[in-house]
């Protein structure tokens, strides 16, 4: 599961929707195995579009849990198009690419901060199925 996906997943338990604690899921850094796939190519234009979708506060939270502290505390602002990117901007974007798209969690678990249900990641695939009493 790509790091970016941690920014898209909430707890699927419907009762948790009324809580603000169902997103992001809480990661147990000690139990998560991370790998990096350097073969995934950096596409600045694509990344600019993707960064738009990122919830920065959630990203900071999860990055902290997974032991990465290199992120700026505020979401960097980027120009709308690649030619307007500064050299520094391009480097920041590349760092985000490495983190969000090249890094993935192959094994691990994540927990809803509201209901406490645990979701496992096995062989890189998160399992978000629920037991009948949470449906």
């Amino acid at each position: 599961m790509k790091f970016l996906t941690t920014n898209f997943l909430k707890c699927p338990v419907k009762a948790c929707d009324t809580s603000n604690d169902n997103f992001p899921l809480q990661f147990d850094g000690g139990k998560c195995q991370l790998v990096q796939d350097e073969s995934i190519e950096f596409n600045p234009e694509f990344m600019l579009n993707i960064i738009d979708r990122v919830d920065w506060a959630a990203l900071l939270k999860v990055a902290g849990e997974l032991g990465s502290v290199t992120l700026p505390s505020k979401k960097p602002t980027f120009p709308c198009s690649v030619p307007e990117l500064t050299e520094v901007g391009m480097a920041v974007l590349n760092d985000l690419h490495v983190m969000l798209l090249q890094t993935s969690i192959t094994e691990g678990e994540m927990k809803c901060r509201n209901c406490g249900h645990i979701y496992y990641i096995k062989n890189g695939i998160p399992n978000l199925l629920l037991p009948p009493h949470l449906v």
Partner: protein
């Protein structure tokens, strides 16, 4: 405005125009379809410039290519006369390419000629091109497009009945069919969707580069691959973890993306029940494209107990001092679900998640009985834009395409109505008798 010749394929005619309109809309092109003929692969139309033609056709699957129109005739002589009579022939067409390197090509529709092609090319001498002939990397390709009328079903025509001449502006994306051919795909299954129509679906759904596409019934990932081809970041989910897991690291959905050299387009596949969705509510999903389960190969299931009494209190079961349902190897129970409800859920979800003008496209099979009307699900916020039918012998499937128009659209709705009277699965296996 300039004249162009669009050379299309004569298959999936129900989808062809929808694809052309959707791609035109994607690039804000207004095309006059009054000369469009569903029975012909040729469509002469006007565009402002070559860039518009390139945008429009570069991702198209159901066309072959688009050419700057230089003329047409029933015979080669007539064609030459027509070319010379074009109002912009001398000052525009001829002059602009006088010094370009070039080559000639022939395209034949429904027939083939044994005519001496070199001689035919030489008959264009009046064009007075001074550039060098370059067969490998010409600056311009001039194409003679011949239409034949077959003598009978098995005997093709020998002499063309109509000939077009034009300058190639953009070939279509039809070669992608070869690249994504299921025969060459590392991981596929019985529910994998063929390359051609999955790419066409992604075009009609207007999957765009740098946007998010979601397939809630991803299976082996056929539509994810199609969405990735058009540059979207694709995410899929499926309640059946076996399907999306594949058969090991070399034979799974991720391996498919690696083979196609499009790994950066693939976000993830999640083991998840679509009706208990974990994608956060604030995430905008630009396109939803899927082939929902119709209970043909497996019945439709969602999370929950079929017999709740049997599961009462089971949340308290512990194994080795740990709640059973929190263990890594816990497998939740599933219950059957009605197709109509599932489709209602897809429409509702799309109305909540798609941006305004975002598209939902999904496939739906139906029996071909003349006496049964197919009721297509509709939602008050969604405009049903296309209903493209692919006919098989006794059944058909259709691609339904909706556009999210938002709360103010106030369209009709048939939410909650029982639409499908007959069990498609049962009838499928009874051969529709």
């Amino acid at each position: 405005m300039k004249k162009y010749l669009l050379y299309m394929v004569q298959v999936h005619l129900n989808f062809r125009r929808a694809e052309l309109e959707s791609l035109a809309d994607l690039y804000n092109l207004s095309i006059d379809f009054s000369q469009y003929d569903v029975d012909s692969p040729f469509f002469v139309l006007e565009l402002e410039n070559d860039q518009q033609a390139r945008d429009w056709i570069k991702r198209s699957i159901l066309t072959r290519g688009i050419y700057e129109y230089w003329g047409q005739g029933a015979t080669l002589d007539e064609l030459h006369q027509d070319i010379k009579c074009q109002p912009n022939f001398e000052q525009d067409l001829q002059r602009k390419f006088k010094h370009s390197t070039f080559k000639f090509e022939f395209e034949c529709y429904r027939g083939n000629s044994k005519a001496n092609r070199i001689k035919q090319i030489e008959s264009f001498h009046y064009l007075d091109f001074e550039g060098k002939i370059d067969m490998k990397h010409p600056q311009e390709v001039f194409t003679v497009v011949e239409e034949y009328t077959p003598v009978s079903e098995n005997i093709s025509g020998k002499t063309p009945t109509r000939i077009f001449f034009g300058r190639q502006v953009q070939m279509s994306n039809r070669s992608a069919m070869e690249k994504y051919d299921l025969k060459k795909r590392p991981y596929k299954g019985t529910t994998s969707f063929e390359a051609e129509l999955s790419l066409v679906s992604a075009n009609i759904a207007q999957v765009k580069p740098g946007t998010i596409m979601y397939d809630p019934f991803a299976g082996t990932g056929s539509f994810l691959v199609a969405g990735g081809h058009f540059g979207a970041l694709v995410v899929g989910s499926d309640i059946d973890g076996r399907m999306i897991r594949g058969k090991g690291a070399q034979v799974n959905i991720s391996a498919n993306f690696k083979k196609y050299d499009e790994s950066s387009q693939f976000l993830d596949v999640l083991t998840m029940d679509f009706t208990h969705n974990a994608l956060r509510n604030s995430l905008v999903i630009d396109t939803i494209l899927c082939d929902p389960p119709y209970g043909i190969r497996e019945s439709i299931k969602v999370l929950g107990a079929k017999d709740p009494e049997r599961f009462a209190g089971k949340e308290d079961i512990e194994i080795d001092g740990e709640k059973a349902f929190l263990r890594r190897d816990y497998i939740p129970t599933k219950k059957p679900y009605a197709l109509d409800s599932l489709l209602d859920d897809i429409l509702q979800y799309s109305s909540e998640r798609l941006p305004i003008d975002g598209r939902l496209a999904f496939w739906m099979p139906t029996a071909n009985d003349a006496n049964i009307e197919t009721i297509v699900p509709i939602h008050e916020n969604l405009e049903l834009k296309y209903n493209c039918v692919q006919e098989f012998n006794k059944w058909s499937r259709r691609l339904l395409v909706y556009i999210n128009r938002g709360d103010t659209f106030n369209g009709p709705s048939n939410h909650g109505l029982k639409r499908s009277e007959n069990n498609f699965r049962e009838r499928y296996f009874n051969n529709f008798n």
